[in-house]
């Protein structure tokens, strides 16, 4: 379906970007992305996808807004303290893009819901603060053959990779065992989360719209202390318990 006059007006400057055009914009509009969770990373990431004109977002995040969320979770507002975090996400995103279809689920990814969460999406953005959730999403994306953008940060550093099941290393290739000692709370400045989140959003936009070079088989490492980036080559583990026997995508 061609873009409407309203869409052409809104995305006019975006379609001038080399590789985007009306074709790429229409692809974005036809796509569904799962973002979980929707906090310091997932919030700005979802916001950038909404601004870029993605068709549908599936947002999954349990719980209510806490004071310590407000230094980075930009889809929350002060008057939301104590109320449903995911409802604030829905409201704020629709204020930006009322054409956006949103499925807002007040749950974190779990064994009970991960299959249905991933099944509804063309692409998955993994923004969870716990390795159990990340590895669960990874396992399900590999099983369903869905691309996964994995973004993470700690303090003044961040990292990002694009996982294509059967083609690139999966997250279990990088973390073959559940890392001990990772704490749910971590040092964070919102601006660092937002940088990593927007890099992840760009990866997704490029993948969906069909232009640019992706971080497939690469880990982008960002250091805000020195303002440097590194691009590290990753390798699949032939004995990976999750993707070791997964064939390349058709």
């Amino acid at each position: 379906m061609p873009l409407t006059d309203e869409e052409r007006a809104i995305y006019e400057w975006q379609m001038w970007v080399d590789g985007m055009g009306e074709k790429g914009q229409a692809r974005l509009r036809g796509a569904t992305a799962l973002v979980t969770r929707v906090g310091g990373l997932g919030g700005p990431l979802a916001q950038s996808l909404a601004a870029a004109g993605i068709g549908k977002l599936i947002l999954a995040h349990a719980g209510n807004t806490k004071p310590s969320d407000l230094n980075r979770q930009i889809l929350q507002t002060h008057d939301q303290l104590g109320q449903s975090r995911i409802e604030s996400c829905r409201r704020r995103l629709l204020e930006l893009n009322p054409r956006l279809e949103i499925e807002a689920i007040p749950e974190n990814a779990s064994e009970e819901n991960v299959a249905s969460l991933v099944a509804g999406a063309d692409i998955v953005f993994d923004c969870a603060p716990l390795f159990e959730e990340r590895l669960l999403l990874n396992r399900e994306c590999v099983r369903q053959g869905k691309p996964l953008i994995d973004a993470a940060m700690f303090g003044l550093e961040g990292q990002l990779t694009t996982i294509i099941p059967g083609q690139t290393p999966c997250l279990a290739c990088l973390y073959p065992e559940l890392p001990p000692g990772w704490k749910r709370q971590f040092p964070v400045i919102g601006a660092v989360s937002a940088v990593v989140a927007n890099l992840a959003a760009l990866e997704g936009i490029k993948l969906l719209a069909g232009f640019g070079e992706l971080l497939t088989g690469k880990l982008l490492i960002y250091d805000a202390r020195s303002m440097t980036f590194r691009k590290i080559t990753l390798h699949r583990r032939p004995d990976c318990s999750v993707c070791g026997k997964t064939p390349p995508p058709a």
Partner: protein, 91 residues
């Protein structure tokens, strides 16, 4: 040979310095560096990076902008920098 070990992420927070320079013999491998690092490390850093069998499998060892498996015995070159990146899941 002079080799630099760089600590990233959580490891950086648990060390007085994010870099240490060590002298190793010609022919040394990545696997030879790890005990040198752990000897000087605090207990929390040692727990983060290692287990009974050496460097934890979930800690990325990065040499010449590529992840390496220390047990593979990749040989070091003078001036190399080995970065160690523990798992990161801030979201």
């Amino acid at each position: 040979m002079q080799i630099t070990i760089q600590l990233l992420g959580q490891a950086r927070q648990l060390s007085a310095s994010d870099r240490m320079v060590v002298e190793v013999a010609e022919g040394a491998s990545v696997d030879d560096l790890i005990p040198l690092l752990l000897t000087e490390a605090s207990n929390p850093l040692r727990d983060l990076l290692s287990d009974d069998s050496g460097l934890r499998r979930s800690v990325m060892a990065i040499l010449r902008e590529e992840t390496v498996d220390p047990s593979r015995g990749d040989l070091l070159q003078d001036g190399d920098e080995l970065s160690l990146l523990p798992p990161m899941s801030g979201g």
